[in-house]
């Protein structure tokens, strides 16, 4: 058994883009035999694939993640695209990378420093080398280390030759040449042949980590077999050649095959899932539980567009998608849809969410349900569109004119997005309020295994539209939830008018009365505050519920914080972890819980936004740990932060 805590399987998790029937893992077993003799057993490993955007790195990573998942190991991936669509070949800014952390224990992050780097050209090497663990294994395609490519990458001398990489174990292989040799049987051009480099690499890495090839060859056959059979053939040949190379070639010191035991998963059906997919599926599930159709209105923006793309394919599930002319039109159309009785959903990232704020105020004023998915990215302004950050908390909680409270939830991982999306739908429809779901670039793109829940066991929360006219007033409230009734236009006898001018309590008629405004402002606050009675009390993620230090996290810092706290606790430190899903309102016991610790440390990928809220609300001197480099925290950074705080 592993020393690290088992993953909490209560939170729903899950899958991939291409459809495939469910099946029992069998693929890995075949390979195990071959390697039995000399393989070393390890617990976990972090591998990063890197190359030119045109090298098919994301595909390689995705395929490897799939076979890893099927081999029963836990995993977490981190795709890191360049901002450019297709940067010129060989440039540093055109480098694409895919990192995967997998193992037999619970894997909660995509890993700090990779143990293994596969670099398909000099640019990929220079961009990634700094982050590799000292002593790590660097596999490079020496065939791509031409003078021209070295120069494009900014190397003065060939690093494979000048000793500058001494800290690492370098394994140069002329992958270009070996690939071309391997594909010579298939009738492909040199260019197409070289494109199979990624498959050769996948073959080699598959051998290293004890994976069979069948699943990938099947996939290649399925994808290209019919339309371009020679391409399928070439890819398969390269894949097999890479694998064979592992088995037959003489390996340098320390390079060998490894085995990793399957992780302990609860029984069930699994798939790997990104945050984008989980969010989309969660919204569909939530809507069905509420008995509503979805009208999803959005405007493309990186890294938020994915939700629009996924939902656009789910028309059969009563989902209408609408690509509007801009973000304002998108949120407005979503509000119009909610007004008409559908579930209005909109999504964007920081710059687009900023544009939506005025309209969100309208949804608050008219008390209509609305889901706003914010996939955060680095800013301010355009910032770094493909990089992650958690810096829209202020915008979500405070970013509107006047006193305008709404609900803010944060997903802590790809799979967790599913549950959060369902909860968002529940709260939005029950309380007639906009709900912001905070995700981020990392969560949107990272994949992890998810135990697919059985939808039949979900508790439905069907919306009851108001239909009877006796005593009807559009702003009369449910005494428990303080929600106003939701009426579908088309309902006879309930014709009424709503709007953004202040409305009289009850009748909803325009009112400039001062006392009424006070009353309405108060009730808008209380309605949201009261939701605290309808959400779970804050539980400890790990550790005792009082003590020296608690790490308070939210969103995608979940992985690194969990791991860091786990390590330090294993190390004997008395550290606890609380992870916040409900940003507004906060769980009722949170203040009291935090107060039981001497210190509260809040790691955030921003300059201290949750810290502000916690200090204000609970008068607890929470300390921030800030990182805004566009990259997730490393476990070690959190560990260092905790240690420093403990020592202070």
């Amino acid at each position: 058994m592993k020393s690290r805590p088992l993953r909490d399987f209560e939170s729903a998790r899950h899958f991939f883009r291409l459809s495939m029937e469910s099946c029992v893992s069998s693929d890995g077993n075949a390979a195990v035999k071959l390697a039995e003799v000399e393989r070393e057993e390890i617990d976990a490993v972090v591998v990063r694939f890197a190359g030119d955007s045109g090298d098919g790195i994301q595909l390689t990573g995705g395929r490897f993640a799939e076979t890893t998942a099927i081999a029963g190991q836990d995993l977490e991936t981190f795709p890191d695209f360049p901002a450019e669509i297709r940067a010129p070949i060989g440039t540093t800014y055109g480098v694409s990378a895919f990192q995967i952390n997998f193992g037999s224990g619970a894997i909660l992050t995509s890993g700090d420093a990779p143990d293994v780097l596969v670099a398909l050209n000099p640019a990929a090497l220079i961009v990634n080398i700094e982050e590799i663990k000292p002593g790590g294994l660097i596999i490079v395609d020496s065939g791509s280390f031409s003078a021209k490519n070295l120069q494009k990458a900014g190397y003065k001398a060939n690093p494979l030759e000048d000793g500058s990489l001494e800290k690492y174990r370098i394994f140069p292989i002329d992958i270009s040449r070996l690939t071309l040799e391997a594909v010579s049987g298939a009738e492909v051009s040199k260019r197409d042949g070289l494109r199979c480099k990624n498959m050769w690499t996948l073959g080699l890495i598959s051998w290293m980590y004890d994976r069979g090839l069948t699943r990938t060859t099947d996939w290649l056959d399925g994808k290209f077999g019919k339309s371009i059979p020679n391409v399928a053939k070439a890819n398969i040949a390269a894949l097999k050649a890479g694998h064979a190379f592992g088995e037959t070639a003489e390996m340098p010191d320390g390079v060998r095959g490894f085995t990793i035991q399957p992780a302990e998963f609860e029984p069930g059906v699994y798939c790997t899932v990104t945050g984008t997919e989980a969010t989309s599926w969660g919204l569909v599930t939530g809507a069905q539980l509420a008995g509503l159709k979805i009208t999803m209105c959005s405007y493309p923006i990186t890294p938020a567009s994915g939700v629009l793309h996924v939902l656009a394919r789910l028309k059969s599930y009563d989902v209408t998608t609408f690509q509007a002319e801009d973000e304002i039109a998108a949120v407005c159309a979503a509000i119009g849809a909610s007004y008409a009785g559908a579930l209005g959903v909109t999504s964007s990232s920081g710059p687009g969410i900023a544009l939506k704020t005025e309209a969100i105020g309208l949804a608050i004023a008219t008390e209509l349900p609305l889901i706003i998915v914010n996939t955060q990215r680095a800013g301010p302004s355009t910032g770094m569109p493909t990089k992650t950050e958690q810096s829209d908390l202020y915008l979500s909680v405070y970013g509107r004119n006047a006193d305008a409270p709404l609900v803010v939830l944060a997903a802590h991982s790809s799979a967790d997005s599913f549950d959060v999306a369902i909860e968002a739908v529940r709260l939005a429809t029950k309380y007639m309020t906009p709900v912001v779901i905070l995700s981020d670039t990392y969560i949107a793109n990272a994949a992890e295994p998810w135990r697919v829940p059985d939808a039949d066991h979900f508790e439905p929360f069907k919306v009851e539209f108001r239909t009877h006219s006796t005593g009807f007033q559009p702003f009369m409230r449910d005494s428990e939830t303080l929600a106003r009734p939701w009426v579908k236009p088309g309902t006879r006898g309930l014709e009424h008018r709503i709007g953004g001018l202040e409305r009289a309590y009850g009748s909803g008629n325009v009112s400039y009365d001062g006392e009424n405004h006070q009353r309405m402002t108060d009730v808008r606050f209380r309605k949201i505050e009261r939701i605290a009675d309808d959400i779970p009390l804050q539980a400890m993620e790990s550790g005792a519920d009082s003590g020296q230090l608690v790490v308070l996290g939210w969103g995608s810092t979940y992985g690194p914080i969990s791991s860091a706290v786990g390590h330090l606790r294993a190390d004997g430190k008395t550290v606890s972890h609380i992870h916040l899903r409900y940003i507004n309102p906060m769980p009722k016991n949170l203040g009291e819980l935090l107060a039981r610790f001497d210190k509260v440390l809040v790691p955030e990928m921003n300059m201290g936004q949750l810290t502000t809220m916690v200090r204000d609300r609970f008068m607890i001197e929470a300390q921030g740990l800030h990182k805004v480099t566009g990259k997730p925290f490393r476990i070690s950074e959190i560990e260092d932060g905790i240690r420093a705080s403990l020592e202070k």
């Binding site: 899958f15 991939f16 291409l18 459809s19 495939m20 469910s22 099946c23 029992v24 998942a69 099927i70 029984p267 059906v269 798939c271 790997t272 899932v273 569909v284 599930t285 069905q288 159709k293 009208t295 209105c297 028309k315 059969s316 599930y317 209408t320 609408f322 509007a324 002319e325 801009d326 304002i328 039109a329 407005c332 159309a333 509000i335 119009g336 849809a337 007004y339 008409a340 009785g341 559908a342 209005g344 005025e358 105020g361 008219t366 939808a455 979900f458 579908k488 236009p489 088309g490 006879r492 006898g493 309930l494 014709e495 009424h496 008018r497 709503i498 709007g499 953004g500 008629n509 325009v510």
Partner: protein, 341 residues
Amino acid sequence: MNDSATAAHLSAKDFTSDQEIRWCPGCGDYAIVKSVRKALAEIGTPTENVVFVSGIGCAARFPYYMATYGFHTIHGRAPAIATGVKLANPELDVWVVGGDGDMLSIGGNHTLHVLRRNVDLNILLFNNEIYGLTKGQYSPTSREGTLSPSTPMGSLDHPVMATSLALGAGARFVARSVDTDQKHMPKVLTRAHDHKGASFVEIFQNCIVYNDGAFSAFGEKKTAPDTQLHVEHGQPLIFGASGNKGIRVNRDILALEVVTVGENGITLDDVLVHDETNRTLAGWLARMEAPEFPVAIGVLYCDPTESYEAAVMRQIEEAKEKKPAKGLNSLLQSGHTWTVE
């Protein structure tokens, strides 16, 4: 959604809400609300299936005065919100009301895209060539040189011509009316309603407080016959108190000109016959300005095609036929799954 049983009994009063009207005494909006109620009674869609969506401005107060569903939203965004309403429930009769500031200034982009997409909305632009509610600043339709609080030496921008812009954006139904014309407006409104797709109706509306008389060049009852041209599909473009003025094409300069039938050998045959499916003609009519020309009133252009939300629904039906949903579990398991036992 036309429920004929009730339709027969609907009167303008059925469309009148209990809210006291808050426009300035003498505002042209009063006449418009009257015409709209009358038109709706004639159209006969039951009140519960009618929705009025508006932005912000004097004009945008409109929904409060209609005993239908109504949504008074935010400045400029009514077309976008109405699009959402229609996407969520294509069965509703959705009307969009706004002023020239609301729909052509801050809301210009939404107006443009809703027209281009051809969402089945009936869009009523109350053009008073001024910002009424914010106390009289010039608007995108104000004439050059308009004196206003923000342009004390006169405005400098060239006004936008609403119908011209709508045609440029690809609108398939473009019409005009005048607030004072209680007879004509209901007819145009009914045509707008009957057109499936975006119907754009510009209504010249007098703001008695900030822009009184803006349309006096053609909007006054007594001079109307000589200054307005009521266009009707298939009918010659004839106007004038004595019914002898006409519009014909000057083929040399590719433009319209006013002629007098019976003078200089001009006969009725020389006069252009209105063809509301002709875009070029619509463009010409839209750009006729007083005093050189009569102002064209009526349906300038109408050339229907499938509406946006109808196409959306069609595509959803197709999707459902081709790949019917098989329940949530099938969705959640549609990826690469494996089983741990």
